[in-house]
Every structure is written in structure tokens, then in C-alpha cells.
Symmetry: C2
Amino acid sequence: MSLADYLYTVDQLPSRLIEAAVDQIATLPGIGRRTALRLALSLLRRDPEKVHQLADSIKEMSDGVKPCEKCHNLTEDIVCSICNSTGRDSQTICVVEDIRDLLAIENLGLYKGVYHVLGGVVSPMDGVGPSDLFVQSLVDRVQNSSEKTEVIFALPATMEGETTSFYLYKKLQSLNVEVTSLARGVAVGESLQYADEATLSRSIENRTIYSAGQ
Amino acid sequence: MSLADYLYTVDQLPSRLIEAAVDQIATLPGIGRRTALRLALSLLRRDPEKVHQLADSIKEMSDGVKPCEKCHNLTEDIVCSICNSTGRDSQTICVVEDIRDLLAIENLGLYKGVYHVLGGVVSPMDGVGPSDLFVQSLVDRVQNSSEKTEVIFALPATMEGETTSFYLYKKLQSLNVEVTSLARGVAVGESLQYADEATLSRSIENRTIYSAGQ
């Protein structure tokens, strides 16, 4: 048994308060009991006032932030700043798995449409079905729109992502909508020899007209 | 610039409350802004009540736990349960860098002495001098003892650890004390060919009388 194993099974922390905090911190994703203990001890080296600041900021976030009623992005209001913005094209809806994907696209600064955060992808292995995702609200948004809508699938290029895209496509195809999907291909800066076969075949199938300087 | 870089520089989080929480979480050691954002989003998926529990457990720990007046272990009382225990030999003091080392030894369940947590090791590169450590309180403990004390150096086998041991030895040598140090040698289960030279030389120098079955 290594030191790490001992620490992992540590049940004799010098105080119940530390134990309780370690248990709580260890509920965070990707944080085991060892890391939780390291974080707890680092907090104990701080001024209690600073620790209260940290804890309060987490509480305030949890109390104050909720999903946007339209797109399920996070917001402090009823509708998020993107949905509320007059400068954005509400007829173009980019469907993402999760808010981090939204942030990644948003940080490019080039997309001027709106979003729809699904809250996951269909994954039978993890017990996630379409009913666990915000699918119906997407259909409603498209249906309630008077003009033609473009829906961009910006879901992960995995089996689950592709399944979800296909499911959404079936739901949307009869409506007044154009469905597009992010281009799949060799990443910018990547050598062809390191690209996987599926990506390389897609990049040949979906080749684009060459334009110099692009 | 990769997606990761974008996320790292993300400054357009959808809410100031999320921003504040991410900033606070990112002050934890080993947690960057990307991980902090991931943790914040995972907290936002929870019941606010559960999030309050987590935040409160951290506050309660910070408010209720303080260093033991004797050995600087952590405790909810004035003196920790180890120093307070009548079943332990207070004439044997094991000097450790940090409370995690104390826990590792404590979990072996074989050490029956007490501890002294230094709070670090001498490291000029990091600006840590002997005055930043609980050195004087160790000297006082030894000095105030009526019987002969054994002080065990259980400090890391690094340059800093060895320097600290040497410094402590100089401070203690004139007192009524026997100074020992953890055995250095080839780790149990380790192949000789993978042991580093310093460890292997030490293990030859400090060879022990063979006793079958040990």
C-alpha cells in the first residue's frame, strides 16, 4: 500500500469539521479525497475572512444564476444577454451541448446568431435520453418563428453527438428550417499524417473551393 | 490559439456572479481558470441547497479549526487529540513538514509518540527561512521536558528537507535529546536497478543486520 492509498483511505482526520469539508469538496467532479484534503488544508492556511469570501461567492452564484428561459444559457435575469441583444440574428440558432461550447464560440467574436444549449447529448450508456435534453424547447422556438430559421448543429464529433444531431434533424426536418452542421475536417495547423481516417475521409468528401489567402 | 486558450482567457462569462465565483475558485492551488469554470458550472447544475451545504462546510471548517498550541497539528480544541492522549509517549517527537505527512504516519497505526508540525521546510529559493517555521516552539518543547527526549526527523529527502534537518540538529544538539532520522533506502517493492544512486549508496552505508522474515 502506497502513501497515496493511505491518504485515500484516510479516515482519521484530526477534526470532524475538516472531514465534513473534505467530504463536500470531494463531491466536485474530478476531485478525489486526496485533492480535497489538499484543498481543505490550503484553505486552513488562509485568513477565515478570505475563506468566507470564497464560500459566499459560490452561494451567491448558485442563488443568483439560472437558465435563460429561451436558450438555457446561464443568466441572472429571465432571458440571457445574448437572446436579449438587438444586434443578434434570432433566426440563426446554434445548438451546443453545454455552456462551455457556447463560451468557446462566443469568444471567437464572429458568430452573430443566438444559441440553444441542449444540456447534454443522447447517450444510452449514461442513461441520457432525448427527454433529458432541451429538445422540445428547440422545436418550439423553430415552430413559433414566423420566418425561416437556420439551425446549426455544433455538437461534439462523437457517436453521441452524431446520434443527437440525427435525432434533432428528424424532429426539425418537417419545419420551416435549414439545418447545417459545423464543418468537420483536418484541424488548422494539423499534419495530414496525424489526422484520423474518419476525419481525413470527411475532409475529402466535403472539400471546398480553394480561395487564395484563406 | 486552441479552444483551451480561448477558454483560459475567457472574460465574457454570462454573469458577474459566475465570474466572481470562478475568480475565487481559481485561487485554490492547482486550479486554473478552466478547471474553476468547470467546477462552477457543475455547481450550477446542483440544487442550491446542496451548494450551500458545501459552502457552509468550508466556512465552518475555517472558523472552527486552528493549530494545536503544542504541536501545530490542526484541532478544534486548544491542544490536539494526539497531544492530549494519555496513551502516547510525549518524550518521542516526530518532526514533519506538514499535516499530510503527519496523517500518512498516523494512518500506519504503529507510531505511538507525538508530533511537531514545522509548517514547511527551509527553502531560500521560496523565501522560507527558519523564522517562518515553528522551530522555536520545538526547541522549547525539548527544553521544557524533564526527561530525555527523542526527536525523529521525518522531513522530505530533498535538499530543503536535509537543510532543515541540519539546522534543527544544530539547534537541538546541546539539549537533553537524542536526534534520529527516518531510514533512507531502497523502497519496499522497488527494483535495485531503478533506485537512484544517492538512495542506493545510502542503503549500502546504512545496511541493517539481516533478520529473516522481516
